[in-house]
């Protein structure tokens, strides 16, 4: 076990679950969470800002091009950082993504069936 692939964590609380030290050692600090929230707030502000851009509301393709990526970025940041998918076992990501991808497919099929596009 080389030093660069090992993490040493002290046991801060006698009641803590064994293994949580490792869990915690790989999670961001409170300051990092606040920075992530600021990024999310900025993206939200940019999303809302599109509402005030003259003429953009009539240009739906451009609006979709601007808003959908921002929505996906916000979704991904919350899921990876706040829901800890970035640090947890990949099985959790697979289970959640499985549902999400299936939902998206069902959603698209339903919309296509009713000639939404």
């Amino acid at each position: 076990m080389s030093s660069d692939t090992a993490t040493t964590a002290t046991t801060a609380d006698p009641g803590a679950i064994p293994g949580d030290e490792a869990h915690e050692a790989h999670h961001p600090t409170d300051a990092s969470y606040i920075k992530i929230a600021l990024v999310l707030a900025l993206i939200t502000a940019a999303e809302v800002g599109t509402y005030y851009v003259p003429g953009l509301e009539e240009n739906t393709p451009l609006l979709l091009l601007v808003l959908l990526p921002m929505m996906v970025v916000k979704f991904t940041i919350v899921a990876r950082s706040f829901m800890h998918l970035k640090f947890d076992n990949p099985l959790f990501t697979r289970v959640f993504l499985g549902g999400l991808i299936l939902a998206t497919i069902v959603w698209l099929i339903t919309l296509a069936t009713f000639q939404f596009f």
Binding site: T7, E21, T50, L67, M71, F82, G98, L100, V106, W107
Partner: protein, 220 residues
Amino acid sequence: MVDTATVVETPSAGHVPSVHSPKPGEHDWTYTGLSNEKLAMWTFLGTECLLFGGLISTYLLYKTRVPDTLPVEQQVAPADLYDIPFTSASSFILLMSSLTMVLAVAGISRGDHRQTRTWLLATAVLGGIFLAGQVYEFTAFVSEGMGFTTNVAASAFFTLTGFHGVHVSIGVIMLMSLLAMSLRGKLPSSKADTVEIVGLYWHFVDVIWILIFTVVYLIP
């Protein structure tokens, strides 16, 4: 330092196993090596994607279906009544409740119960403010003449946002329950997983609102 330290390996795939993983027969042992409760919550959230996917697609299909054959007072579509600045403020509040929730989870992971209680309360209060905003919005829509049965577009809108509101309400109840448990000393650090699982639910409610806010409110 060596005596009080726990050495763990950092695997390539991001999973963090521990040399203290419970053995078969021990209290916390599971077949997968993962928390069964957490895996169950992730599976539940996966199925919730299907529920909200169905509700969002239904809204998209019906949002403009306001038949001319209806009386004039019933020809009101949800998009005609949106108050984007107000909903933006609500969305921001719900987004910030995700920050307070993750700080509560971080607090209990460190054994800092005071921080945990503070942030749990803050999250519940922010969730309550969001719900109050939703009640205000619904009341305003009804007073403008758009009730649940006014037309199919209104029904789809109220069903989608109402379901989300019910999820937020359940989340607030769970948060208040955790806070009460903590105040009564029944939420030790060994139950940090419980707070994290409630946190997963709360963050999910937030990410669903990220979708609803963009797809329903911001895209005409």
